[in-house]
Symmetry: C2
Subunit: 244 residues, 2 copies
């Protein structure tokens, strides 16, 4: 781990996901270093065009180069443009929150989300990383992904709620079921009162690309999903897979 680079990357993320442009002082205390040091990091980021400084307010905001680099990332471009309209239609139809995520070595990375349209709505923040063993999408990745993803299971499984599955043998058995049935649920495993239903997005060759998850309270999304709901989800993921 390169410490200085780590700091710069944290600063970059901070600026990227901040609601408003940030000043040196906020950045400094955000990453926990001295103001002067933060300034040096910001200058480095500016030299690379990753960040630029508003000439009027002298606050720092994200530069255009980040956008350009983002265009080069395969997942986003393809998946989101294809999936976005389909996700919207299923959300409007079912009223549940819809989440698109892709696998990373240790988590399910949330690329895009649509919150549910209930008065009390449930959402997932894009950019968050769901644990592999305690989320529906994570379990999809464990079940359908390459062997390297299951490496993460060697370490003890942290408990998110009392219902989180922390026994490795039980989890492995569940993964078998998931592979067989083609979907995963996680009733109150990530958060009490909340359930999720997820299915994999596979390309034509059967390779795992990502997953679509539906999130809802246990009231709206039962632990045993009704067949009609499953069908709807499967047609969605199959359509996305075909259009890749």
């Amino acid at each position: 781990m390169v410490r200085a680079a780590d700091v710069s990357l944290r600063i970059l993320q901070m600026i990227a996901f901040a609601e408003t442009p940030l000043g040196v002082t906020q950045v400094a205390q955000g990453v926990g270093i001295a103001k002067g040091a933060a300034h040096k990091h910001l200058r480095t980021l500016m030299d690379h065009g990753m960040v630029l400084q508003d000439p009027l307010t002298s606050l720092y905001l994200l530069g255009p180069k980040i956008w350009l680099m983002g265009q080069k990332a395969p997942e986003g471009q393809v998946l989101s443009e294809i999936a976005a309209p389909l996700m919207r239609s299923i959300r409007d139809e079912l009223g549940l929150a819809v989440v698109l995520s892709v696998p990373t070595p240790k988590s399910a990375f949330v690329l895009a989300t649509l919150p549910s349209n209930q008065p009390i709505n449930i959402g997932v923040r894009p950019g968050s990383e769901l644990l592999l063993h305690s989320s529906a999408q994570g379990k999809i990745f464990l079940a359908f992904g390459g062997r390297e993803l299951r490496e993460a299971l060697r370490e003890p499984l942290p408990r998110a709620t009392p219902k989180t599955q922390t026994q490795l043998p039980n989890l492995l058995a569940e993964l078998e079921d998931i592979r067989r049935l083609g979907y995963a649920t996680a009733p109150e495993e990530a958060m009490l009162g909340i359930n999720a239903l997820a299915a994999p997005i596979l390309d034509r060759s059967g390779k795992l690309i990502g997953s679509i998850g539906l999130i809802g309270s246990i009231q709206h999304l039962a632990a045993e999903p009704p067949p009609a709901l499953l069908d709807r989800l499967f047609t969605l993921t199959a359509t996305i897979g075909k259009r890749l």
Copy 2:
């Protein structure tokens, strides 16, 4: 300048703009450090999800987080989605290369391009940075941008070709003309045999957002642009400005 962060950012860009996934060795000699050190940097980038490693080939490629961050950059999202279809139509109509760029403190940053559709075609690489004083788009930014952009003129003006304007007073006079006429040209100032014509993209409040440039050989794009061509360019930039 934070050296370690600089190295990591160079590596990140290298991976982002590489044609194919890269290995540790290529990265190391690309940025000029030892293999072991490069490995440490790559791990740091991976920890942040900026980069990930193909489990099969163990080559490094761009991670999904970069895409997500790119979505947050204001310029790209808005400008490119609005401008892209309009740029395409003007390219097909005129046959000239079309370039969309935004201002940075020291250059015109190229966000998106369309190469000309001639047999011998001319293009501009996205991500490149055009000098402010020796390119049509750069001169647009100097003329229409904030005062801070003109700070760059305090330093001596490098000569790109024999025709590059390197005399500050002459350049300032030209900027006056550009402001008055609403367009800039740069015949053979950036590259011999090539001319460019550019106009600013202004939002409703008149603030400079970016510029559209047309690039062609001096044969296809005369130093004195015909009125019809100017009209076409002005309607394009005006349309983009309105849709912001």
